[in-house]
Amino acid sequence: MSMVLNEEQRLLQDTIDDFLSTNAPIDQLRRLRDTHDYKGYSIILWNQLTELGIPSILMPEEFGGFGFGFEGLGAVMQSMGRNLTASPLFSTVVLGASAIELGGTVSQQQTLLPNIAAGQLTLALAIDETHHHQPIDTAVRLKEQNGQLSISGEKVFVLDGHSADKLVVVVRSSGNAGDTKGLSLVLVDSNAAGLQINRIQYMDGRNAANIIFNNVRVKRNQLIGELGSAHTILQQVLDRGVVAISAEMLGGCQEVFDRTLQYLREREQFGVKIGTFQALQHRAAQMFCQLERSKSAVLSALSSLDKNSPDISLQASLAKTLINDCYQHVSNEAIQMHGGVGVTDELDIGLFLKRARVSLQILGDSDYHKNRYAQLMGY
């Protein structure tokens, strides 16, 4: 395992690049955005991706999985970032299926994972309760009364929560906000009685939901892992998610950078290509340096997930912080260097700018991860 793709992985990368640029070009996202498509992704595309085996890319082979691991997933996520592809892959496979794989009972795994692999079940992780990601502050309660479990409270900005078939809900069964002990994961059908799901459309055309739990009843077999001790599993799920979204951002950042370079090579002003101007050359070179540094961190984190490295949390926070800051910077520079045309909706650059800002917030912005990094380092 390494930061350089082997032949098999390169083949996967080429296949998915070809596939997505043909079947899920950026125009598809525009259409989903402009028609306010009720799912926010193309079901046809998701079926096609399922035929390619993408939803089972991480799953162990015993559940009909593909066994490509995180380095393989990284290649797919990067390609989705480059093409701005909307799909349930992140919420359903990286977050939802991971929770079941890592914390679920054999029975849960056997009933759910094959359905996910077959593209017939989508999931969403209901975790945040404010507009900033801070899982440890989970306060939504899982109450037990007369032997009956129920959830009341509100989860906000649940990615793909408007369209998922089931929700993996992070709840508190004991202790207080800030405690690592007392967290539980519960699987809830999205049509369960007492659920109120309100769709939110983000600036990048993607969707989330605010979800109110009004005394939603839960059976014991809906728990993922032991009651009150889901923190470790949750950490693992989140680390996977952080690294996967970082890979998507790497792809997007690389694409918007490449498009900007192409523009610098072609655009003429004052009778010369603007790419000859040293003021622009140096800024482009600095972006490239930052991008290569971020890329090393993201590729290393993917590889570390496959190796099950003990420092994966540190690596995940490293990768997300570097690519957050890089994508933010590069997307701003991309607009500036494209000049007037850069601020038109007709050009795709603005779509990358918006995707960058949405993904910056997903599973923690840079401040969150810098703080987490400091904690893990012991200062």
């Binding site: 070179a285 590729l299 290393s300 490293l318 912080t321 570097l322 400091a374 904690q375 200062y379």
Partner: protein, 396 residues
């Protein structure tokens, strides 16, 4: 795989058996063993460690055994390097010849030149200096004026070189000299080796902003140099110099790996100078965030170095990544130096005053000295030019 494991184990065992405990402490500048005719050892252990490594050829592990090198493959040399780092073994020998000039001579030198110079480099008998820059030729190196006139069987050299590292302590110098005045810039330059003991060579130290005198201005006044000291063809020295540049990057990474030893310390320093609050966080939020930012960038660069190595090993050609390293690592070193001063507050403003500790003074001197990192070996601006043109293919 098994043989690699065994090799690693053998190396480790040898190092444990042969590296004295005192040579497994983080290196400090005054205790580095530099090559040279007048080589000195600050203690017996350092001499012993140097001699043991030298006799194995492991001062230059990947050089051919016929010239005294260790004869290792790149991968084996990497294992040696990793094991030395893991055990904290100090580098046994420091020399520009070892890092930069030797590899280039192995590539471009005649058999006679290799026989003469390479074994002495491996054995640390000669200290090499670099004679490229001149008072009026810095980033625009090809405008250099030091000239070598053809006098039949020898050259007569006249001119001035700047920034010759430890010029007054060096034995030989590899120089770029002008041998054709008519030819356009790069095309009239030759690569010449000069024994600094020759009459007419004078190295005069200059004081830098850190108070040290590491660099010299070296004067050549009618210096007689045998023609056999020419490396590569006459007027084709520029290509030798360019080849040497890639080894200069290796040197930078060696230099930064020496610094790496102290890397973890900035956390300890921050805890000492700032303190922790009741929740175990650094008591200054702004500096705490800056510390994370620095550590993350530095870690990203370390991972890039690993990725570059993996690319190299699997035969992937990606010129771009390597080109970013000098710019990033030298800038990051300066960020770190500034952060250290910020962490130390007024205790980071020392010069001679006795109020300040030795390590406080050292930190400040490093801070001043490291300003040269983004200038020497190709300024950051030149690096960015190269990246823009070579890696990004932006038009010239």
């Amino acid at each position: 795989m098994e043989t690699t494991k065994q090799f690693r184990l053998d190396i480790r065992n040898w190092l444990i058996a042969n590296c004295p405990e005192s040579q497994r402490q983080p290196i400090i500048k005054d205790q580095q063993i530099w090559a040279g005719r007048h080589r000195t050892f600050y203690c017996g252990d350092a001499k012993l460690w140097f001699e043991r490594m030298r006799d194995q050829g492991w001062t230059a592990p990947s050089w051919p055994t016929q010239y005294g090198g260790g004869g290792m493959s790149l991968e084996q040399a990497k294992i040696l390097d990793q094991e030395m780092k893991a055990l904290g073994c100090r580098p046994a020998l420091y020399d520009i010849g070892l890092w930069m000039f030797g590899p280039a001579l192995l590539e471009y030198g005649t058999e006679e030149q290799k026989q003469e110079h390479i074994p002495k480099i491996v054995r640390g008998e000669i200290r090499w200096a670099q004679g490229y820059s001149e008072p009026s030729a810095g980033s625009d190196l090809a405008s250099l004026k030091t000239r070598a006139e053809d006098k039949g069987n020898h050259f007569i050299v006249n001119g001035t070189k700047m920034w010759t590292t430890q010029g007054d302590k060096s034995d030989w110098i590899f120089c770029l000299v002008r041998t054709d005045h008519q030819a356009p810039k790069q095309q009239g330059i030759s690569f010449l080796l000069i024994d600094m003991a020759t009459e007419g060579v004078v190295a005069r130290p200059m004081e830098l902003i850190n108070g040290d005198h590491e660099f010299c201005q070296t004067f050549f006044d009618d210096v007689k140099v045998p023609k056999s000291n020419l490396v590569g063809n006459i007027n084709e020295g520029w290509s030798v110099a360019k080849a040497l540049l890639k080894y200069e990057r290796n040197m930078m990474s060696i230099m930064s790996s020496i610094v790496e030893k102290e890397e973890g310390d900035i956390v300890a320093i921050a805890k000492r100078y700032i303190g922790l609050d009741s929740s175990g966080k650094l008591a200054n939020n702004g500096l705490r965030a800056q510390l994370s930012e620095h550590l993350m960038r530095a870690q990203g660069d370390a991972l890039s170095a690993l990725r570059l190595y993996q690319q190299h090993k699997s035969g992937v050609v990606d010129g771009g990544l390597g080109l970013t390293m000098k710019y990033l690592s030298t800038s990051e070193q300066q960020h770190k130096d500034e952060l250290l001063l910020a962490i130390m507050g007024n205790r980071g403003l020392s010069w001679h005053d006795q109020t300040f500790s030795i390590s406080e003074k050292k930190t400040v001197k490093n801070w001043a000295y490291n300003k040269a990192h983004t200038i020497a070996g190709g300024t950051s601006e030149i690096q960015l030019n190269i990246i823009a043109n070579k890696a990004l293919q932006l038009p010239v």
